[in-house]
Symmetry: C2
């Protein structure tokens, strides 16, 4: 097996890793009726890390099916396209799903369907973003900015497991995971989850999450800046070099995501974890680059041959 | 009266406004035993918009009392210094308070003291930040990143009143105030406060908050970017030009504050509103510029002759 032991610190390196290792995944694109999705898919195909399966209208199929790099299934509407994508996952034909010009509700309905869906019982589904922020020297993985409003203890524990898995795929041997709060104090009365943070640290020390370092409560600055940590006279094994942030609630996760993309020129990729395969839930406003990055992330996560 | 009708869009303009209008306030500095606080105070004195009252140790008093621009009261410890500052507000000698090398707890204890404190009964105390973010064309006022964990309806209403007052002092005639949420949908079940957002908009339309525009729920991007608003095919009178953000909870407010200062090179100023006078709660890691900006903000807010 090809061996690269360097940590992946940018999306460019992520794509290069896929190419070096010849990792290529079959990704179902649900209703790719607009240009941004099509262009991102074309780019990923050209780079060579996806085999796309377009589930699309007849007219889009006419455009793409002449090229044998694109497999097409014709459907008459987005609802049927979403169901078809889920079916392709169930029979093993698709290894990830990307949302095109279809509402998130429609796609989620097909994924969550109790009879024909692809979310195993008792499985936590959560949204994970990976960000490349100028002036931060590593990729920053965080959850959840879009799905779980106020994570329960169980959900938070599962979020950590997903995040550790992604960091390991980025070849980070001992990822540093910060449990985010507005301060560094445990405050059972106002913020019960900070008490759970202590339990999570203990579980980490017992090895329950595999190879990783967990600390918290820490705020964004003490998580991501050694200088800020030292100013506050705090010591933390994260050392201002967090690889991942577990957010206290969706409002914090969402505003973090929106702020780094609007005001810090961050590039991002995002997927849903929990279903049988990674789901790319892009949104209308996402750039082609974001969609390409998300395709690369889904391809890496979908790869079972590990680091 | 000096008339300038231009909106204040930067801290430089804020300080210039104070100087143009000869606004100068007596500010009690609680235990200014470290350099950053001293330097910020000296700068503000040189610029000419504060009359400082240092409540300090004998050695600091020895250093400053030779200069008659600095009034000094000697105390033996930070607890007494905090009480003294509050007393000076009660007798009308101090028009704002700035925290020096004293813990927030100690200062708040003196402010909140039921017998001798300066927070009127039933008054909501909340933390307000003003940010100057590169590439955003106006100052952005937001609350609350430090005091109220999960605002009640009543607290949120009072936050709006404080924020409107500050925006008016910035000479913004009809400030645009966005009620922040992770999406633009009212969701009573998961996020009861989004239902209250609707009521707040109605109250605004009835004129209960004075001259301002309120809209929400909106996320950070649809609040602050017209492009993002248009991508989502949403219309809002805020038009991507929010002057102020009311945060859903302290975690969102705190991570927004930390992110813009760590990753977006934002300059900030922050005060507590609610007590009889503005309180500057700087923190150890704050730059001299942040402390100077906060002194300027407190001076403006403390001025009763404003617009």
């Amino acid at each position: 097996m090809f061996n690269t032991s360097e940590e992946i610190v940018s999306f460019k390196e992520l794509i290069n890793l896929l190419l070096k290792r010849n990792i290529k995944k079959r990704i179902a694109i649900v209703w790719p009726e607009e240009k941004h999705t099509q262009e991102a898919v074309i780019l990923a195909v050209k780079k060579g890390f996806i085999d796309p399966i377009l589930i699309c209208s007849q007219s889009v199929a006419n455009k793409f099916s002449t090229d044998n790099l694109f497999k097409c299934y014709v459907e008459t509407d987005p609802i049927k396209a979403a169901r078809k994508a889920v079916d392709l996952v169930r029979i093993g034909e698709a290894e990830a799903i990307m949302k095109g010009f279809v509402s998130t509700d429609i796609l989620l309905k097909a994924i969550l369907d109790k009879e024909n869906g692809i979310l195993p019982k008792e499985t936590v589904m959560t949204h994970i973003t990976v960000a490349e922020i100028p002036n931060y020297k590593r990729l920053l993985v965080f959850t959840d900015s879009a799905v779980i409003p106020f994570p329960t203890d169980k959900q938070r524990e599962q979020q950590i497991k997903y995040v550790v898995e992604i960091c390991h795929k980025f070849q980070i041997k001992e990822p540093k995971i910060s449990l985010i709060h507005c301060s560094e104090k445990v405050d059972k009365r106002h913020f019960p989850y900070t008490e759970h943070y202590v339990i999570l640290k203990e579980k980490c020390q017992k090895g329950e999450f595999g190879s990783c370092i967990i600390d918290g409560p820490l705020d964004l600055k003490t998580s991501c800046s050694l200088e800020a940590l030292q100013y506050k006279l705090i010591k933390s094994p994260i050392n201002g070099e967090a690889n991942a942030l577990i957010m206290p609630n969706i409002e914090a996760g969402n505003i973090f995501y929106k702020t780094i993309t609007l005001f810090s020129k961050a590039e991002t990729a995002a997927i849903l974890q929990g279903p049988l395969v990674p789901i790319i839930l892009t949104s209308r406003g996402d750039s082609i680059t974001t969609k390409l990055n998300s395709l690369a992330l889904a391809t890496l996560i979908s790869d079972k041959h590990g680091i």
